[in-house]
Each structure stands twice: as C-alpha cells, then as structure tokens.
C-alpha cells in the first residue's frame, strides 16, 4: 500500500547517542537520539518547536509519546527523559549508546513563541514534566533568541533533591544574570538552601508579576490543579497562562481518536493550551 516514505506511521531510524540516569532513584533516564539519515535530521529541525512531542518506537514493543527536552541549537540530537512506568518504558531503560530506536515527530503545536515575543516569561515546572520546559528555557537562553523575550523566571520543584533533573546545567543558571531561578523540594533536606514546599506555594511566595507576562505550567495533575488558580490570584489572565496536556495517544496525527477532549485532539490541536482554551473544554482531563 503506501510506501514507507509516505506512511505517517513509519518511524525515522535513529540511534542512541548518550543514555544516563537523571535521578538517583534510577526511575528517570535521559536519552539523546541522533538521526541515521541527514534528510530526517534536516526535516526535524525545520519543523521543531519547544513544547512538541515525539513517538518513540521499538519494533516488537510498540510506541509511546514523550516530550522533547532539548533546544534545536544544542546540537543535532533530540533529548528525552523517560520515566520507568510500564513495560515499554522499562524496555527503553535497557537501551544504551549505539542501540537503534525509531522516532515519529515532531508532533503537536508546541509553545506559541511568536505570540510571546517581547513578554516576560514565567516558567513553572514540577517533576519529570519539566522536560519540555527545560527545552523552552534552553531555547530562550540562546543569545540569538534571548533578546526576543524580556525577563525570564523559572520555578522548578521536585519531591526531593535526588529527583531534580538536569542538575549540573540548572545549577549554572544561578550564575546567569539574564534570568531568575527558584528551585524547590517538598520536604527539608540537609544541604538544601533553596525553597522548601509545594510548587503552588512557592509560586505564591515568589509572586511573579502578571504585567506583560505569560506563565507556562507543566507538572503532575495535582500540581497543575493548584498552580493555575494561584496564578489567576496573582492577576494572570486565563489567556496568558499556558499548560501542556497528556493523553494516551497512539497515532499522534489526529486520527486514532484517543486524545479527544471535546472538539479538540490533544495531539493535533495541543498539547499546549492556554487556560482560556481549557476553560472552554469539557472537564474530561
């Protein structure tokens, strides 16, 4: 039937460039994937926007969607942080440098960066959902992109310091003069000198100004549930608050129906939505 070239379910051949544990409980592992074909690489980076996701594919095991955790300028690889949850992610965790893997994407809309130009960015993340926000922060930090945005505030929380991702890089952000970083863990730990508490409370403490600002929130459902109203309380309008949704997606191209919420498909119309858009959707998340 369709040749593989025109088959939207056909993954690009990739291989693993680097694989390393991200958290000390070994549940989070980061994979950097390189392209087997130049053509795929060119096309990927022509279309890629932070906030998008890809389907990772292992023949004989299946596929699952993951948010991209790297910015285009970093190099010709695509980074994912995979949490070990089910049989597919357990298998992915066994992969090492050089192993083949398939990838479809980039999929979805990504963050509306054009609309955000000239604004202050407040980036709020919790747990491993911070991965696409890491991609966004890396994108904004690039000298060529940085002038497009005004102030940059990052609030990042994890349950404990051992679960903080991208540690060495994020640690260096404290030295940057072009941004403000607030890290938080849930309970006090020896040697932790940053915030202690849940992300919604840290957001209230930091109290970023809503003036000429957009806020982006990605985290577990419980964090998002309490952070969105905290932002509204601080004066952020629903049109200026953004979040990224997840669903059990299969096709990733708006056909299989599984990520349907109201008249939207998360994979095609999202995964990034403003709070104003979410408020117009049925409570089916």
């Amino acid at each position: 039937m369709p040749d593989n070239e025109h088959n939207p379910y056909h993954p690009m051949p990739m291989h693993i460039l680097r694989a390393y544990y991200e958290s000390n409980d070994r549940a989070l592992k980061t994979f950097e994937l390189a392209f087997d074909k130049h053509k795929d690489c060119d096309e990927f980076f022509r279309n890629y926007n932070p906030g998008q996701f890809c389907q990772l594919s292992i023949f004989g095991k299946g596929e699952a969607p993951f948010g991209v955790a790297s910015a285009a300028w970093e190099s010709e690889f695509v980074r994912f942080t995979v949490q070990k949850m089910g049989s597919f992610t357990q298998y992915i965790h066994t992969l090492k440098a050089g192993d083949p893997i398939g990838m479809r994407g980039p999929l979805g809309n990504g963050f509306p960066l054009e609309d955000w130009k000239g604004k202050n960015l407040v980036i709020i993340g919790g747990g491993c959902a911070f991965s696409t926000l890491y991609a966004l922060t890396k994108h904004v930090q690039h000298p060529q992109n940085r002038p497009d945005f005004d102030q940059l505030v990052v609030i990042y929380g994890a349950r404990n310091s051992g679960l903080c991702m991208y540690k060495h890089d994020i640690q260096s952000w404290y030295q940057r003069e072009d941004m403000e970083l607030h890290q938080a863990i849930d309970v006090p730990e020896e040697g932790w000198f940053h915030h202690v508490g849940y992300v919604p409370d840290v957001v209230k403490d930091v109290a970023p100004s809503p003036n000429n600002a957009v806020a982006v929130v990605c985290g577990p459902p419980i964090m998002t549930k309490f952070t969105l109203p905290a932002l509204v309380e601080l004066g952020f309008a629903p049109e200026t608050i953004f979040t990224s949704l997840e669903k059990r997606m299969k096709c990733g191209v708006g056909k299989c129906g599984r990520c349907n919420i109201g008249s939207k498909y998360i994979c095609k119309d999202g995964p990034v939505f403003s709070l104003a858009e979410l408020q117009a959707l049925p409570n089916d998340i």
Partner: protein
C-alpha cells in the same frame, strides 16, 4: 440518468463486473451478515436482514490492519500490502455510505491524509441500495440523511417489483451502466413515489435543535450514571457503528507487524494512562463520551452530527439501551434545568 437492472440479471451482472473489479455485496454466512466478495460462499442478503450487522467501514479501515512490517532481526522495515484491485461495493445502505463521507473528514483531508484509507477510497465504487421499508430502529432522517440519501454514492438503487431502478451519480458509475436500458418516465415516477413514501414513513426520533448546546449543558449531570447502570461496557455499539473510527496501535510480535485495531472508548483501558490516571475511570464518563462525541464534538469539528442513523447500536445492544431514548431524555433534563433556573 436512471437505468434499469432486472432483478433476475443481478447475479450475472455482478459476475461481469468482477472481471474488472473485486465486487462486494451483503451476504449472510451462518446467520452473520457482512459485505463479502461475491465469489464467497455466502447467500446474497440485500434486504434480509435490512442492513448488514458488520459495518462496511471495514472495507476502508479493516478491523485489524498492518501499518508496518519488520524483519525478524527488527532492524529493517518492509512495505505492507500490495495495491488492491479496484473495488465495487454493491448494496451499501445510504446511512453507511454517508458515514464513509464523515470518516473522510478524519482520514482523507487535503493536509492530513491517511494513505491506507485514501487509497481504498480512491479505488472503490459505491452502489447504494435505498431503503424501501426502513425498519423501526432506523433514524437517518432525524440526523439529516434519508433512506435514499446519495452522499458518498456513485449510484443509488431503488427497488421496484422485479427491477432495480439505478440512478447514476458519478462518471465512474456511468461507465458501468451505459449499456443498460434507460428507465421510462413511468418507472422514474414509480421510483420517486417509493422514495417519498419511505421518507415519510420515518417519524423524527428526537429533537436535534441546538443539540450540541443542550448536551454541553448536561455534561456534569447524574443522568450519565443512570445510563452506565444498565451498560455492560461491551463496546458493541462502537464496533458496529459506521462512524466510530478510534483505533489502537500495537505490535503483533508473532507476525512481526505493527497493526492498528478498532478500539472503543467504552473500555476502561482505552484512556488509562501510564501514571495510573484515567480521565474516564467509570462507565459514567465512558457512555457520556460516546454520546457527546457523536452529538456534540463532531458538531464542533465539522458542524455535522457524527451519526447517520443506521440503528445498529439500537438493534444489537445486549441490554436494549436505545441511543434515541437517551437523547430524548437528555433533552428533558435540560428543559428541567432551564425551568428550575
């Protein structure tokens, strides 16, 4: 243009078409009716049962279909399927043909084609069989179609005593019927009368005025839990539905294939996420999703109801849940709310 095909010449005609096409017609095998190639051993079942149990959407999106095939070492992809012979489907009911046009808006849009669906669509001729006596479970006229609706069809058959009057609707079909006798004015009038009579015999099943708005208002209603109390969650309503299109993608390790299988929002695991979170954890949310998708969300997408009134879900529900009754009740809930408010 309307042509005449004598009933007694049907078998012969289907055979002659099968030289050029793979010809499908409704057939009964061990009591189960579905569209099969005419060479198959089933008995032709054009009017009994009125419509096939198994929906002809399967001819465009099979219940299980390979999307990719890989070799045993799992390092090389092979192409799947060979191009099929052009196909001719005889005797599809207008509701099922209309459903195919609805699914075109999912699988065959200009900017986002599913190549598997698109290729089968391009190479298939659909000859519809109008419904002279629509059964009680049908409600096509309520949702904007009709027993002789022509959406999606290349030709439409009206059954008269011992002849089929065939209205040709496309150039592809014109070539098939060019040598057939043309219907007389009298026969054309007869066909018209049969069509009008059939349409008039169907009373409206529920009110579709502002249906989307009315359903959106009762999203949080306890009514969905009431329906869920009867529902077994078997999913037959969605599998047999000609407009349901959800699929799962899984790897069939024994066959070295990645396949897509029909799936259903009526199953718990359909929306179960890896974290354990499930946005539709009980049958309440799942029965609501089925109704809302067809009678609200489709309207948000393309301003059309995602149901063509074939009545399969009504006929085959093992506990007798009737989607028409659900929609009638849903309407009264809303009016109660408004009166109370």
């Amino acid at each position: 243009m309307m042509y005449i095909l004598e009933k007694k010449k049907l078998d012969q005609t289907l055979k002659s078409w099968s030289e050029k096409y793979e010809v499908f017609a409704p057939q009964k095998v061990e009591g189960f009716s579905q569209f099969l190639p005419v060479e198959a051993s089933g008995e032709l079942a054009l009017t009994d049962p009125h419509n096939t149990r198994y929906p002809p959407k399967a001819l465009f999106m099979p219940q299980s279909e390979a999307l990719l095939r890989y070799n045993r070492r799992l390092d090389r992809l092979e192409e799947v399927n060979t191009p099929p012979k052009p196909r001719l489907i005889f005797g599809i009911r207008p509701c099922d043909a209309a459903a195919v046009t609805l699914l075109d808006t999912v699988f065959n849009t200009e900017d986002n084609k599913d190549p598997f669906w698109a290729k089968r669509r391009d190479e298939t001729i659909l000859i519809g069989m109008g419904c002279v006596e629509p059964p009680q479970t049908c409600f096509c006229t309520t949702v904007g179609y009709g027993p002789f609706n022509t959406a999606g069809l290349d030709a439409l058959v009206t059954e008269l005593d011992d002849i089929f009057a065939v209205e040709v609707l496309s150039e592809k079909a014109q070539a098939l019927f060019v040598d057939f006798p043309v219907a007389s004015e009298d026969q054309q009038n007869q066909a018209q009368a049969v069509q009008t009579h059939a349409e008039e015999s169907m009373a409206p099943a529920f009110d579709t005025t502002d249906l989307k708005q009315r359903l959106d208002l009762i999203f949080e209603s306890d009514y969905w839990a009431e329906i869920a109390d009867s529902c077994l969650g078997c999913g037959v309503c969605t599998f047999l539905c000609p407009t349901c299109f959800c699929f799962d993608i899984v790897d069939e390790v024994q066959r070295n294939e990645r396949v897509r299988n029909w799936d259903t929002c009526m199953f718990r695991i359909y929306s179960q996420e890896a974290s354990g979170h499930n946005p539709r954890p009980t049958r309440k949310e799942r029965t609501r999703q089925r109704l809302m998708h067809k009678y609200s969300y489709w309207l948000g997408h393309i301003d059309k109801i995602g149901c063509t009134g074939c009545g399969r879900c009504v006929r085959y529900c093992p506990v007798g849940l009737d989607i028409r009754a659900m929609l009638r009740t849903a309407s009264t809930l809303e009016s109660e709310r408004v009166n109370a408010g």
